[in-house]
Symmetry: C2
Subunit: 197 residues, 2 copies
């Protein structure tokens, strides 16, 4: 499966590299590429800078479109061209996975309307305000609704990615990957330690 | 504090970006820069590629030297120039933090001799073979001995980084960061779920 990871300035480091660790180590099954709206170097306040291709340049079918969160989403939710491109790539993708406030960007496309989703519990009011017609779940670690996987904040992207592996390849496969990265996987997607009030 | 992160080809993604997430978000306290022996782009099999400066170019004092693990360590333990530079930078650094098989690289310098340390539990025999005079702990999530912090595999780097914050700024500060990234921090460094047999 081809994974297209969306980057924008001030993306959240672990939102991206948690899932990249989980999928990236399965080199026989998943191939990861990084994209952004303008292409070129995209960086964040953690000092991380990555080279990206333009979203426009995606030609091969995308099986998984990964949308991270981070401070940058506060700007990007108002970027109409960005939202339009996220909608376009999401429409073409077999699955769309969001981490943290990445769900605000996906919500802005309208694709989550009347669907179940979740997001960062520390920024829940802001995120849900960006998608008033979404059925937001305040207690879930991650939510699956059709092709859309949305996760809670930052490290929850790792739990969701393992959940995705479980759905695709079985829970024992996912548990094996969790053990390899010595991660205490929260297997129960419906029960987040950090649930919103 | 200045953090110098060592990269080499085929570093483990999360070994690097777990700690980078934890320290990177504290922009008032920590500044992160990436280094490698040759400088330039350093990449891994997860499709991640980062720009680095040469280790030689470090001029400002380093408070934290972070050494990740990954497949690349299997090659780097035999790279005498690399081990020599790791020793040199470690000597000059206030603290040295290793994640996963990064402890094998540090062990090769001799700096861990007669000190307590830990490493990835999935590669424990290989790592400990690289440091026969180190007091390896098979049950710890991470170990602190003087200026050396060594952690267990991959995601344990996040726990260790939070442990470092706890030692520097108090446990409530570390818990706050863990909550911000919605991470279930394993606070007890002596009790690893993935302990070696």
């Amino acid at each position: 499966m081809n994974i297209a990871v969306l980057l924008f300035n001030d993306f959240e480091t672990l939102d991206v590299f948690g899932p990249v660790e989980v999928f990236g180590r399965l080199t026989d099954l998943y191939t990861i590429k990084f994209y952004s709206l303008p292409g070129g170097q995209i960086s964040n306040r953690h000092g991380v800078s990555l080279s990206t291709a333009t979203l426009e340049s995606i030609t091969t079918p995308v099986e998984i479109f990964l949308v991270p969160g981070g401070f940058g989403t506060r700007t990007e939710v108002h970027n109409l061209l960005m939202i339009e491109k996220i909608k376009e790539v999401s429409d073409q993708s077999k699955y769309v996975l969001t981490v943290c406030t990445g769900s605000a960007l996906l919500a802005q496309t309208g694709l989550l309307n009347h669907k179940k989703a979740t997001s960062n519990k520390r920024a829940f009011a802001w995120v849900t305000g960006n998608g008033p017609e979404v059925q937001w779940d305040k207690a879930a670690r991650w939510v699956v609704d059709g092709k859309f996987y949305t996760s809670s904040g930052v490290s929850a992207g790792i739990d969701m990615s393992l959940g995705f592996l479980s759905d695709q390849h079985g829970i024992e496969f996912a548990r094996k990957v969790a053990t390899e990265i010595e991660y205490n996987w929260m297997e129960d997607k419906d029960n987040d330690t950090f649930k919103a009030e």
